[in-house]
């Protein structure tokens, strides 16, 4: 009966590290329980879980996510800009981003003018800070890639409530700075038909 006693080790340090093995019902010092646990009885109480379907599911999920993965990452949209939505749209391209919200104009996060100032003036105008920033970006692009023709594309992220006067001023300034192909960023609506 000694081997059924959980404290049967001769070695005083043996309790520190135990050999791996079955532990279930080990504290019960009864032979029929041990027989049952070790499988000498009827059916083994160890139930095997079939992992094949689980692994299949995981692999399918991984493949789906890898196929829809975009390495270019998320395009930063100014958190103060609420974009309008449209159906007939094109895919976004890599180009300088001009964000226009109710208060300010930003080029790739750098301040480039005030929306309020344009509204208060009440007429179409060239925005000097925006012009200089875009012009610098254009010159930098030309220095980096001297052999390629400059595409002249920039993307405007304009808040849906910004008045047309501001949009036209930014549009015209971008064109003056060498970006005649202006795109408006919009949310994509599903096709109605």
């Amino acid at each position: 009966m000694d081997r059924f006693n959980p404290k049967h080790h001769k070695n005083p340090h043996a309790h520190v590290i135990h050999q791996p093995g079955r532990r279930l019902m080990k504290g019960v010092p009864l032979r029929f329980v041990w027989n049952k646990v070790s499988g000498h009885g009827a059916r083994s109480p160890n139930a095997g879980l079939n992992l094949v379907s689980f692994i299949d599911f995981l692999i399918v999920t991984v493949i789906f996510l890898l196929m829809s993965f975009s390495a270019s990452g998320e395009i930063a949209v100014d958190k103060n800009v609420k974009l309008p939505k449209a159906e007939n749209v094109d895919d976004i391209i890599d180009a300088p981003m001009v964000a226009v919200n109710g208060n300010q104009i930003l080029v790739d996060g750098a301040l480039a003018g005030s929306t309020r100032a344009i509204e208060e003036l009440g007429r179409l105008q060239k925005i000097d800070e925006l012009f200089n920033l875009l012009k610098n970006k254009r010159e930098l692009w030309k220095q980096v890639q001297p052999n390629k023709p400059f595409p002249g594309v920039c993307i405007l992220q304009v808040d849906q409530n910004v008045p047309a006067l501001v949009v036209k001023s930014v549009f015209q300034t971008a064109a003056f700075a060498g970006y005649p192909n202006v795109s408006f960023m919009v949310g994509k609506l599903p096709k109605s038909q």
Partner: protein, 189 residues
């Protein structure tokens, strides 16, 4: 667990059935899924083209020949109606008015305006007066948007959506593609 069963070895030899530990494999799959889910881009934004119509510098080697101006669609956004005016130079070729009948989608907080009637009328107008229809023609017809300075941008986008709704086939190096029949620019006065 996954394993390889090559049958009973027989005799007193070591068992030839070996189990592959699947736990690290499942862990790897779980971590990959977690990474892909975290880095996934769920919000998809798109763009609408416009063209500022800036003329390039004249080519000194090319002889200037007088060209007849192309027909251009002038789209006027009014208070209660839209004006579709085809002009060739300063000559008005055709003029129609379309009532402003907006279709509102979404709830009050995120209301979206659409002009399906305008889109239909623009398509009819292009079929009658449009100049660039052949698939091999790389140019598209030009539309000039005339709007009041106070018009909110969401209304401009709704009109642009209607303007870009008619499409035609264009032959491109990477195959035929459906492209909008118009390119838009603002009237700046």
């Amino acid at each position: 667990m996954g394993g390889v069963d090559v049958g009973d070895g027989g005799g007193k030899k070591r068992a030839t059935n070996s189990d592959i530990n699947m736990i690290p494999f499942i862990d790897l799959l779980m971590v990959t899924i977690a990474f892909l889910l975290i880095t996934a881009v769920w919000v998809t934004n798109s763009r609408m083209n416009a063209d500022a119509q800036v003329p390039g510098p004249p080519d000194p080697n090319k002889e200037l020949t007088p060209q007849t101006p192309e027909k251009v669609l002038n789209l006027h956004i009014g208070e209660s109606e839209f004006g579709l005016v085809w002009k060739q130079g300063a000559t008005v070729v055709n003029e129609v008015k379309v009532n402003k009948s907006p279709v509102e989608l979404g709830d009050a907080s995120s209301k979206i305006i659409r002009y399906p009637e305008l889109a239909k009328r623009i398509e009819e107008e292009w079929k009658t007066h449009g100049g660039h229809r052949d698939p091999s023609d790389k140019k598209v017809d030009q539309a000039i948007l005339h709007t009041d300075n106070r018009t909110p941008f969401k209304e401009i986008v709704a009109v642009l959506d209607a303007l870009y709704s008619p499409k035609r086939e264009m032959r491109l190096p990477d195959g035929n593609k459906q492209v909008p029949v118009f390119n838009m620019t603002f009237s700046v006065r």
